[in-house]
């Protein structure tokens, strides 16, 4: 079944479509709406967004896969987004990423079998002053070391 937005999201969509000058610009916040409503974006959600915004599905997929900050549907309970851009990289983000890979037994954009964790290497999270940074769901965890990270993961149930 094709997806549809509920009335409240449609209202938000209408408001957004007044605000942006071009379809391409509108695409970004509407993807965010889809992410919120459907708890992550899947192919059907992208089809829906393409139809509403009036851009081809190929474009929506292009934008969605370009930005690492959108959440794909089917992610685990905790989405671990490891910043991999330069300042974080200089301060050890690669080590953190490798550590998580090993500990969880998954690669970037994969989910543990119990559905608890999804690992994702992302671009700059905008918190270079407190690098390295991992975003877990909506929260930032800053100035990380592998030890600190282990403690944090142990607390997540």
């Amino acid at each position: 079944m094709p997806k549809t937005f509920n009335a409240k999201t449609m209202e938000k969509f209408q408001a957004l479509s007044q605000r942006y000058p071009t379809k391409d610009a509108l695409l970004l916040p509407v993807l965010r709406l889809a992410e919120e409503e459907f708890n992550g974006i899947d192919d059907d959600a992208m089809e829906l967004v393409a139809g509403l915004v009036g851009v081809p599905p190929a474009k929506v997929m292009s934008v969605f896969t370009f930005y690492t900050h959108y959440r794909r549907a089917g992610s685990g309970k905790y989405l671990l987004q490891v910043c991999s851009t330069l300042p974080c990289a200089l301060r050890g983000s690669q080590e953190i990423f490798e550590h998580l890979k090993k500990k969880l037994g998954i690669d970037s954009e994969e989910t543990t079998k119990d559905g608890k964790f999804t690992l994702k290497k992302v671009e700059c999270l905008g918190s270079c002053g407190t690098s390295p940074v991992v975003q877990i769901n909506e929260d930032y965890y800053e100035n990380l070391t592998t030890e600190k990270l282990d403690e944090i993961l142990n607390k997540l149930q």
């Binding site: 089809e47 009036g54 081809p56 599905p57 190929a58 929506v60 997929m61 292009s62 370009f66």
Partner: protein, 951 residues
């Protein structure tokens, strides 16, 4: 000042203001290495190979996107640049397989060429490589991501030139790749299989899978020719090796299509080599869809290439689908192969017997919009001289006869007034009753991209078509209400004073009567008839009338009605009222459906005209042609195609000679046509396949395809172009012109025994060029056309003499009839309307992947793979009410017959209206259609009839 002077490598170069440094350099003959740049596309600026040094600028700058400025000093070649460019190439090659020895693109690969020029044997850079699998999900095309250099040309051509936007980049950085949406197979995407991404790909990343392993650039011969499908007349290159067509390409210097092709032109050629000879029973009896499925899953071959099936996927599709290779005569209900001599004896003997027994008016000849000008000319000459009848017609009767009737009355000439290249200069495009994206793809793409760039597009169509996405106004009127709709537009324009009074006064007549006649067609009144909201009518009228240059495009949605001629007159009224005709990028453009339907009309394949639209009942013309052809001619206007079929049913036509047409698929009310053809005493079909019509014939003569013969064809913009022979004729088949010459000589040798004058009728032509010289000598519009002048770009008629350059647009300063005539046109409803018993309105048409009766396209592996089965489009509301699902088979019944057909539930059609493409013999739409005729042009009403649907 619109020029700037810059200095490239110390030399002063003049450039247009706004040109880039790269363009300036190239126009001055200075080459700059480049990979992502293509002159037909906006700059991509992704490969960085075209960097140059600019005096005073920091770093190196990509010349493809750097505007040339006054006094700019540019260096394009230095040791620094050489090193930099070499490094770029080494980086690209570090993630590129070095398998040129087996790559399809070898010899034409731009990356290979640069590696050679820069002397790169092996890249010194070692690192990660991308490892995406080869995408080969259909028999037509494949993508090898490892060879992709992410230049973006394919994405750009798909978006900026073809207005399809089926592919785009996905992911980012090193992981970037070209993707269809959601990485699904091509068939499930918006891709229309045009293959232009292949043409524009600089490497072997996207290639013709259908040409895999069949020969590389240096092995193939490229013969320039013209596409055999629709009326666009795209220029193609037939790539052959060892007497077989390997693939079809085009190049950017071509006048019509600038190197672009559609799926039929690019991939539809393989009917030429349809595998089996006549007489051999079809081998395959499995379900073709199962075949297709197993094909998709076929594993890769040993060398990593996907396998390509060696035989057609659908051999069981149409019985006797083989290319005809020998003449055949029916004896005792069965065809037997005979020699050409014997066939000619039978044909000439039986035709003359019929002529003697029933008179010349009992004979009829159907010419062909698929055959060349020369062939059609000879065929009508044979009919009018040796057979002695003007009963000559062809399928233009079924598509644009109402255009001829209407436009001659309004303007004095029936051809497309403008040229394809003018479309991009228009500020308003009004498309009514035409779906060019599917039927005239190159024109459809140009219209869509012109709209994307800002021109106003108005679409009037009951169905949602690709162009409605780009439209500023979409008038979704009810089928058959075109006159009312256009009168509504005219009414608004006059009421709001938007008409062009200067033009009306200077160039038109009958304005007052016309103006009075449209007074009652107020937006409110018209809205009631058409179902279009009055606001939309007003909006569209204002857009059209206030645009500087407006072009109207129409096709079968206007012409195939019992009001076909009226519809055309209305369209012409609209152009006259606003002065949008007789100038560049403004006019009335009937889009021609077959590759030579324009030419067949031009050279007299019509019952009322000799070549060059000279009337058969005009004594001067008759005298002129009688003298030239060596025998007095009949002055009676002949029967039209539709009349010939009806008269066959009534025993008035006794013999028919049909060249390259398949009326048993294309006529309306096929059950009636079948009855009529079966009543004929003698019937000859000259064709390339055993078509539905050929099966009813007494004699079948094997003709050659477009690739096996020479001749000219005239496209929709009146461009006469040369088709060249690329391969030898199949088996014993012969070019149509040679067959007609053989028959002509045979007939005249018999006839001259009693009437020596018949000996004067000349059929001893050596070549098509000689026939064209005769056409030119007799028809003024072709007067200056000869083979030595056609060259690479052809000539657009009117071309009255040898020094005339041809005509880009018509009716400049003066209409062909003198003044443009306004005509009073009142709305009349279609012949058949939906009622309680037959509650749906059926409209028919073509789809992108097939042409007409499908004789050619359904025998093409790729086209058949994409679309194998007919369907009826039904609105979801109707489907739900009637209780059937998408994909289910339903019975569709009209007053004339019933077909069983798959339901395609879609909101492309409005509730109450259904659409069926007419290509599919097993669910032939024309069993249902109504043969009610337009009183003037005798065109049948294919576009409206009443049907019911049963589960």
């Amino acid at each position: 000042m619109d020029k700037v002077t810059l200095y490239i490598n110390g030399t002063a170069v003049q450039a247009q203001k706004g040109a880039t440094v790269l363009e300036a350099a190239l126009s001055a003959g200075i080459d700059i290495p480049r990979l992502c740049f293509h002159s037909a596309l906006p700059p991509q600026s992704s490969c960085r190979l075209c960097v140059v040094e600019v005096k005073g600028a920091r770093g190196l700058i990509a010349s493809c996107s750097l505007p040339a400025a006054q006094d700019m000093a540019v260096t394009t070649n230095s040791e620094k640049l050489f090193k930099y460019r070499k490094y770029i190439l080494e980086l690209i090659l570090s993630n590129h397989p070095m398998d040129c020895m087996t790559c399809e693109k070898s010899g034409e690969c731009e990356l290979q060429e640069y590696a050679y020029k820069f002397g790169i044997k092996q890249t010194p850079i070692r690192g990660e490589v991308t490892n995406y699998p080869i995408e080969a999900t259909d028999p037509l095309m494949m993508i090898e991501h490892s060879k992709c250099i992410l230049c973006g040309r394919c994405v750009s051509v798909c978006r900026d030139l073809w207005a399809t936007e089926a592919i785009d980049f996905s992911k980012r950085g090193f992981s970037s790749k070209i993707s269809f949406p959601f990485d699904k197979p091509r068939l499930e995407s918006d891709c229309v299989f045009c293959g232009n991404c292949i043409t524009f790909c600089p490497t072997g990343a996207i290639t013709e899978r259908s040409a895999l392993g069949k020969g590389r650039s240096w092995e193939v011969k490229k013969i320039p020719s013209v596409c055999p499908f629709c009326g666009c007349g795209c220029n193609i290159e037939i790539n052959t090796k060892a007497g077989k067509i390997v693939k079809i390409t085009s190049n950017e210097n071509t006048p019509v299509n600038k190197g672009l092709l559609c799926v039929k032109g690019k991939f539809g050629y393989d009917f030429v080599h349809h595998p089996d000879r006549i007489g051999k029973p079809s081998a395959c009896s499995t379900d073709p869809s199962a075949d297709s499925a197993s094909f998709v899953q076929q594993p890769c071959g040993e060398n990593g290439h996907p396998c390509y099936p060696s035989t057609s996927l659908h051999e069981n599709l149409i019985k006797s689908s083989e290319r005809l290779s020998r003449p055949m005569v029916k004896k005792g209900g069965k065809f037997h192969e005979v020699s050409w001599d014997e066939a000619m004896n039978v044909v000439s003997g039986r035709l003359l017997e019929m002529k003697q027994k029933y008179g010349a008016e009992a004979l009829g000849v159907l010419c062909s919009a698929k055959c060349t000008n020369e062939e059609n000319d000879l065929m009508q000459k044979l009919a009018r001289t040796l057979l002695g009848t003007n009963n000559v017609d062809h399928c233009a009767r079924l598509c644009h006869s109402s255009t001829v009737a209407g436009m001659v009355q309004s303007f004095g000439g029936a051809a497309m007034t403008n040229s394809i290249e003018e479309i991009e200069k228009a500020s308003c495009l009004f498309v009514i009753g035409s779906n060019p994206t599917e039927n005239h793809p190159i024109i459809g793409a140009i219209i869509a991209r012109t709209a994307m760039k800002g021109a106003k597009l108005i679409v009037a169509d009951p169905r949602a078509i690709h162009l409605t996405k780009f439209a500023s106004a979409w008038l979704r009127h009810k089928c058959g209400t075109d006159v009312a709709l256009i009168n509504g537009l005219l009414n608004v324009i006059v009421k709001e004073g938007l008409q062009n009074n200067e033009f009306i006064n200077a160039r038109t007549e009958n304005y007052e009567d016309f103006r009075n006649s449209i007074e009652k067609y107020t937006p409110e009144y018209v809205s009631g008839i058409t179902g279009v909201p009055k606001e939309e009518i007003i909006k569209a009228a204002r857009i059209y009338a206030s645009s500087k240059n407006a072009m109207i495009f129409f096709a079968m949605g206007i012409t195939q009605h019992t009001t076909g001629t009226d519809n055309v007159l209305s369209v012409c009224n609209l152009a006259l009222l606003t002065g949008n005709v007789g100038k560049e990028a403004a006019g009335v453009c009937p889009l021609r459906g077959q590759n030579n339907v324009q030419g067949a009309c031009d050279v007299g394949a019509l019952p009322d005209f000799y070549p060059g639209y000279q009337k058969v009942n005009d004594p001067n013309a008759r005298g002129k042609f009688g003298k030239a052809w060596g025998i007095p001619l009949d002055n009676k206007i002949g029967y039209t195609l539709t009349e010939m079929v009806n008269f066959a049913a009534q025993d008035k036509i006794k013999a028919l000679y049909i060249m390259g047409e398949n009326p048993m698929m294309s006529d309306p009310d096929l059950l009636h046509a079948d009855e009529a053809f079966k009543k004929l005493e003698f019937m000859v079909v000259q064709d390339i396949f055993m078509t539905e019509t050929a099966q009813l014939a007494d004699v079948v003569l094997p003709a050659t395809t477009f690739a096996e013969k020479e001749g000219t064809v005239t496209n929709t913009e009146r461009r006469v172009q040369l088709m060249r022979r690329a391969i030898q004729p199949w088996g014993d088949s012969k070019p149509d012109w040679q067959i007609i010459c053989m028959l002509g000589k045979k007939l005249s040798s018999v006839l001259r025994r009693n009437e020596p004058a018949f000996g004067n009728v000349y059929f001893d032509y050596d070549s098509p060029a000689e026939i064209m010289d005769e056409i030119a000598s007799l028809s003024p519009v072709y007067g200056g056309i000869s083979y030595d002048r056609l060259g690479k770009i052809g000539l657009q008629w009117p071309c009255p003499d040898k020094n005339h350059p041809g005509t880009k647009f018509l009716h400049k300063d003066r209409f062909s009839r003198g003044q443009g005539r306004f005509n009073v046109v009142e709305f009349r409803p279609p012949a058949e309307s939906a009622d309680n018993e037959y509650p749906f309105t059926l409209t028919t048409g073509r789809v992108l992947y097939h042409l007409h009766g499908g004789s050619m396209t359904r025998r093409s592996t790729g086209l058949d793979f994409i679309l194998h089965e007919g369907y009826v489009e039904v609105n979801p509301e109707d489907a739900e009410r009637l209780g059937f699902q998408h994909g289910q088979h339903v019975n569709v019944t009209s007053r004339r017959g019933t077909i069983k057909i798959k339901a395609n539930v879609t909101d492309k059609v409005p509730p109450g209206t259904v659409f069926i493409p007419f290509h599919f013999a097993e669910c032939a739409a024309n069993i249902l259609t109504n043969n009610a005729l337009d009183p003037v042009s005798k065109i049948p009403e294919y576009k409206v009839c009443a049907v019911r649907i049963e589960v």
